[in-house]
Symmetry: C2
Subunit: 354 residues, 2 copies
């Protein structure tokens, strides 16, 4: 089997069928399938259909509740905590983002946290829900496995705790920052290991503080935070805001969802929505963001650099390209998906012609 | 003249007198003097009385308005924009933080931005205003001089755009993160130059992309962001949130307040306040933060590391120490302050006995 292209429509339909076959109500299966496909469309290959087998494993093992009863456990005019009842993280955060948008329309800004949630795919998906509403979205999650000690330590008490911020522009693509607080995301280390490649110095160290360059030895070391103690501080603070404040897991309580498919993860996240109209005319603001784009692009470049990039530029280009040409899936993943089709008695994922 | 200790009380009184002599109403001079002294108490030596001469220069040159008329230019139930009328940044952000606290008490979360503000000292001061209110504070500012290009570029369009987050604990000190989005703050480079020391590789590069190690050559290069493109993304996004969204300066419009004392800077900042009681019982939350402290401290250490530190730990220890023993001021600074006393016809700053 070789790499093949699939259309977003077929991919979404396939994911929908697999999730519905695993007990998700149709409306929820559609929501999750749409978000997972959106992850593949924007090039977040490690966070889209790549995760389907893992989610199904957790659904079958009882690690995720297919029919959660989402409730607002806390509510103030501009804030809330959604208790996800251990449902799919996508559902929980889609719901939280919708609540946040409704609130910010009234109050100017809103902050909605989650507990008893789960891995929800790429951070940018939820921040980007702001864009169509003339809002700015900011999303933070407690990562679903600890790969980092506090600065100077060796006990892995912290995760990559990512942040995403999405800011609408007028004619230019939106500015979308989506980053881990570690130099490299753990997925990149796993990818290098699969390919038999070394990783650059600065990504990981071992328990003696020495650079770890062979990703096959990754279990002997840990990820390094950006800016040393600064990235440690960001990861810690984001973990408190997305975890502790919501009554969600943090520190030693974080369940490694890669190795444990049964335990409730009690994942925490939060989404902040800023109503641009509460600050200035949204048309004027978006036009100013076009200006920011052009100004950054206008900078002279270092030797060897051909062009300044804006955060979200590649994401946008990937979405445009994949929406029209299809989403490329590697052979190994297609094999896993065909296995899922068989196991769950749904039609195989249709490959695009050509 | 040698280094000397001064008490916080005497320092605050001295700053108050100098500011009042430069046209600030007494109540405003007191507010600013209190915040500037607080900066010295927490060890932010580059952001306290060290800046007084520069502020006075701007006040005398017309670069700062001593009697601003602060107004809420925009207001929603949970958000606002304070127009600072080119007043001292401390006044503007003290006001913004108070507005934000009042709002968050009602709404759960609030976000108050500023425009026509000025340099306001260390970011942590305003975030820390949350602590006594059982709130979490988050502050971001557009830095008052551009020292960084977009990633891969050579035009200095971005500043160190710092972030501070303050989180209350019960028995332990609060967690206070206060960091620039660059590997090193520009002040550290200036300090190294004054001392005739080299700076470490990774702080700055020159226009050819080569490491710049001699801080006396700092004008030939620029600061590096934390995590490469990630820190660039953070600086960009923070600058948009604290600057563009408030109608404040960003990019090429940022005035370098070190070299220009006359032009209105139109500095932008924002403060976010989270009412912990809107999420969970504040007593339970603060006890959980004690738990986070103890958990991080419990980590085994890398060879050569004796103890894990929490963000804000040193700040807290410095405040305790200086509150009881006094604030050490270097000889060169004391000389400047004595000059200011003479120039503004106020009594010299009294040195502590001993």
């Amino acid at each position: 089997m070789a790499e093949a292209l699939v259309t977003a429509k077929n991919l979404e339909q396939f994911i929908f069928r697999v999730l519905a076959a695993n007990g998700l109500p149709e409306v929820d299966a559609r929501t999750v399938a749409n978000l997972m496909t959106a992850a593949d469309l924007i090039g977040q290959d490690g966070h889209g259909v790549f995760r389907l087998a893992q989610y199904v494993k957790r659904l079958k093992a009882g690690g995720i509740n297919p029919t959660p009863d989402l409730v607002l456990a806390q509510e103030f005019p501009a804030s809330a905590v959604v208790d996800g009842d251990n449902g799919m993280g996508h559902l929980v955060m889609d719901n939280a983002a919708n609540v946040a948008i409704d609130k910010a329309r009234q109050t100017g800004v809103s902050w909605v946290g989650s507990r008893n949630s789960n891995h929800a795919g790429p951070a940018s998906l939820y921040a980007m829900k702001a864009l169509a509403e003339d809002m700015i979205g900011l999303y933070v999650a407690v990562g679903s496995a600890n790969h980092m000690p506090p600065w100077g330590g060796t006990d892995m008490l912290l995760s990559t705790n990512p942040i995403a911020v999405a800011i609408p522009a007028a004619e230019r693509p939106p500015i979308v920052l989506d980053m881990a607080t570690t130099v490299a995301a753990y997925g990149k280390v796993k990818t290098a290991a699969q390919r038999g490649e070394m990783i650059p110095e600065g990504w990981m160290i071992d328990r003696n503080g020495k650079p770890l360059l062979d990703p096959k030895r990754s279990s002997e070391g840990f990820l390094l935070p950006i800016g040393g103690p600064k990235g440690y501080g960001l990861s810690l603070v984001f973990g408190i805001l997305a975890g502790v404040l919501n009554g969600a897991a943090f520190g030693r309580d974080v369940v490694d969802f890669n190795t444990d498919s049964e335990s409730r993860t009690n994942t925490g996240q939060f989404i902040l929505m800023l109503n641009i109209g509460a600050f200035m005319d949204p048309v004027e603001f978006k036009s100013s963001i076009d200006g920011v784009w052009d100004e950054m692009k206008s900078s002279a470049c270092l030797p060897g650099v051909s062009e300044i990039r804006l955060p979200g530029e590649r994401l946008h280009a990937t979405r445009v390209e994949r929406s029209s040409n299809g989403i490329p899936l590697p052979a190994a993943l297609l094999e896993v998906l065909d296995g899922l089709a068989e196991e769950n008695a749904v039609p195989k994922l249709e490959r695009a012609a050509g």
